[in-house]
Point group: C2
Chain length 377, copies 2
C-alpha cells in the first residue's frame, strides 16, 4: 500500500498551498495556512466557495478540466484536499506535477467502502462484519455472513447517512438492495456499541505521527451533533484507539491529518473497538482543537503537507463542540453572548436544512467538563 | 469629545467588513472576521499587503483618492482601520457614507501627541509632564516645566521610538530640537518606572466595555520584544490600570479595541500609573489573546464594530508573546518544533531589520508562567 511519489521538503513561509474543495474545511485549512505565513489557492467547481474568501487565489473549474488543473499545479507548491470525494484521477493528474498530500491512494481507499473495509481487515483492524453484494443473487449468502440486523450501503459517495439503509430482516434487505440499485453495495452487520468515538491522527512527512485524545461523538439524524472531550472512555481503550489510528496512517504511508471513526462495544469479554470509517482529511470531530489546543487539526495538516514538524497535540481545556446545522446558525446573536463559547460561522450563502453552517465550542477548565460521562467498563 | 455619527445595528454573518490598512493587524482582523462568517475588504496603498491574502477583496489605492474611497464605502457594511496614521480626512470622508469604528475622533487624538496628552489630562489621567515647543524660543520654559532628563518627540507620525530623542541636558535638548525641525514638537519629562504594562480594552456599540488583564511589556531598542501575562503587578494596580483604560474608552465614546500603554512607577508614595500612549486599534501587546483566550482582541474588535455583544476577556492559560523581528522569522523551523508554542507568521515579502514578521506565543497552565516576576510594591 506504500506510495511516496515525491520527496517532501519543508516549504518555507510565503509558499502557496493548493486546496481542492472550497467548503468550510478548506476555509479553516486556508486560515491555518495563513497563520503559518502561507498563501492558499483554492480549486473548486462549486458556486458557493466559502474558502475563497480567506484565500489569496481561487480557481473555479471542474475536477476533470486538465488545462485548469495543470495551471493550478504550476501556481502552487503542494496540493491537498478538503474532502474524500475528489476524483482519484484528479489527484493523480496533479501528483504527476506537484506533491499531493495525503497520498492519492488514501482517497482511493476511502472512496470505496468495500476497499476501505478490506484495507482495514488487511491492517488487522476490527470492523463490523461485511460482505459485498454485486447482484441480488448474492444477498442470501451475504446475510448469512454478516447476520441481522444489518446496514446496506452504497460502495461510493455516501456521507452523513446518505446512501444507506438499516434492515431488520431478509425482506427489508431485498427491498433496500433494490432501492440502492440492486448491486454494487456492501452489507455490514449491525454493531451494538456503547459509545461512538473518533481519533484525529496526524502524520508528518518524516513519518512521525501523533494522535489527539479520542473524542466522544454524538450523532443525531446520522449527522454529527456534538463532540465531547474528554470522551469518558477508559485510558487503556483510548490508547488502543490511538494505536489503531497510528497503524492505519502508517500502513497508508500517510502525510496529513485523518479522522478515524470507531464504535466502542462493551460486553462480558471486555471493551472492543470497531473502525467504522476513515476520512483522509481534517474531520468535523476535530474542530474542537481550534479552541482547546495550541495547534489545531487544521494547522497540523498544513504542517504535515508542508514538511514542517508536527505540533503538540495536547489540549489546555476540556471542550464540547456542537455543529450549527441549517437555520441553527440564525441563533448567532444569542450564541455570541454566551461566556466561554467560541463561535465559528462558515460564511456559506444558503442555510439548507441540515447543512453545516458553523459550529460552536464551549471550553471548560481541564477536568471540569460536565458533559463527560465516564463509560462503565 | 462624544461623537456617534451613525447608529450601529448588529451586522449579520455574511456582511462585509472594510479594513483600512493591509499589514499584519489587518490580516489578523480579517481572519477574526472570517471566523464569525464575515467577508473582509482591504483598502491599502502599500505594495506589500499581507492582509489581502486572507480577504475576499482588496483595493489598492491612496488614502486621498476619493473615487476609490467612495467605491470602497459602497462595497462594505462597516469600516475600521488597523493603524492610527490613516488620515483623519479619509476616515471622515468614509464616515459620511458608512459607519466607521473606532470613531474618527480617536484617530485625531492619537495622531497628535500634544492633543493626546491634553485629552488624557482632561480625562483626569496621569501622564508624564509635558509641554509643547512650537519654536526654539519655547525650549527654556518647556525644560523648566518638565525637568530633566526629558524626551523630545515629534507631534505626529512617531512609532516604535522613531521621531524621538532622549535628552539629558539643555544643550542636548537644543540639538535634538534642531534635528527634529526646530519646533512643532512635544517635550516630556522622563518617568522612571518599575514596569511597563498595557491594557487592551474593548468597548461595544452598546457602551458595554471590558478589559483583558494587564500585561507586562518588555521593549528592546524601542520595539516591543515580549508581553508577559500575568504581569506580576499587584491586583489593586491591575484594577486601577483597567479603570484608566475604561475611562479613556468611555470619554471617546469608543467602539472597538484600544491598546493603552502605561508606566508603573513605584516609590515611597506607593505605585502610580502614567499613560504613555493610546493606540485606537488592536495592539501588539494583545497578540497573546489569540492563543490564551476563547475570544481574541481581533475578534473582540470585529464584534464591537459589527454591533455584536463583546465576548469573554478571560484567559485559560498564562502566556508569553515574543515578536519575530527581521530575520528572526528565518528561525521558523526551529520554533515550529517547540512544544506549547503557537507560531504566527505574517506573510510579508521582505524581512528588513526590525520589521515585525511574525510572533510566537508560549502557553503555560494558569499560575505556572516562569517569566512572571511579582513586582515588589
Amino acid at each position: 500500500m506504500s506510495e511516496r511519489p515525491q520527496p517532501v521538503r519543508s516549504l518555507p513561509p510565503g509558499g502557496t498551498v493548493g486546496i481542492l474543495g472550497g467548503g468550510q474545511l478548506g476555509r479553516m485549512l486556508a486560515m491555518a495556512a495563513a497563520r503559518l505565513g502561507f498563501r492558499s489557492h483554492i480549486y473548486c467547481p462549486d458556486a458557493d466557495r466559502p474558502a475563497a474568501d480567506v484565500a489569496a487565489a481561487c480557481r473555479a473549474a471542474p475536477y476533470e478540466d486538465e488545462a485548469s488543473l495543470a495551471a493550478f499545479a504550476a501556481a502552487v507548491s503542494v496540493v491537498t484536499y478538503e474532502f474524500e470525494n475528489v476524483p482519484e484521477a484528479t489527484a493523480r493528474y496533479l501528483a504527476a506535477r506537484v506533491p499531493v498530500w495525503p497520498p492519492p491512494v488514501a482517497l482511493a481507499v476511502a472512496q470505496d467502502r468495500l476497499r476501505e473495509k478490506s484495507f482495514l481487515t488487511d491492517a488487522g483492524v476490527d470492523t463490523a462484519p461485511f460482505a459485498a453484494i454485486d447482484a441480488a443473487a448474492d444477498l442470501p449468502a451475504a446475510l448469512r455472513a454478516v447476520g441481522l440486523p444489518a446496514v446496506i450501503k452504497t460502495r461510493r459517495f455516501g456521507y452523513d447517512g446518505k446512501g444507506q439503509a438499516y434492515v431488520a430482516d431478509a425482506a427489508q434487505a431485498a427491498e433496500a438492495l433494490a432501492a440502492l440499485g440492486g448491486g454494487g453495495v456492501l452489507i455490514e452487520g449491525f454493531v451494538t456499541f456503547a459509545r461512538e468515538i473518533s481519533v484525529i491522527v496526524a502524520r508528518g512527512a518524516d513519518g512521525a505521527a501523533r494522535c489527539y485524545e479520542p473524542v466522544w461523538n454524538v450523532h443525531e439524524n446520522h449527522v454529527l451533533a456534538r463532540s465531547i472531550v474528554p470522551s469518558g472512555i477508559p485510558a487503556a481503550v483510548a490508547e488502543a484507539a490511538k494505536d489503531i489510528a497510528l497503524r492505519i496512517a502508517e500502513r497508508l504511508d500517510y502525510v496529513g491529518v485523518m479522522g478515524i471513526e470507531m464504535f466502542l462495544a462493551t460486553g462480558d469479554s471486555g471493551p472492543r473497538l470497531f473502525v467504522n470509517e476513515m476520512a483522509p482529511r481534517v474531520h468535523n470531530s476535530g474542530h474542537w482543537t481550534l479552541d482547546a489546543c495550541v495547534v489545531s487539526q487544521f494547522e497540523q495538516h498544513i504542517r504535515a503537507i508542508c514538511g514542517w514538524p508536527l505540533g503538540t497535540v495536547e489540549r489546555h481545556s476540556d471542550a464540547v463542540m456542537a455543529n450549527l446545522l441549517g437555520d441553527a446558525v440564525d441563533g448567532w446573536a444569542e450564541l455570541a453572548q454566551r461566556p466561554d463559547v467560541a463561535v465559528h460561522i462558515y460564511g456559506k450563502s444558503g442555510a439548507a436544512p441540515g447543512r453545516k453552517m458553523g459550529h460552536v465550542t464551549r471550553l471548560y477548565p481541564r477536568g471540569s467538563n460536565p458533559c463527560t460521562s465516564p463509560l462503565q467498563p
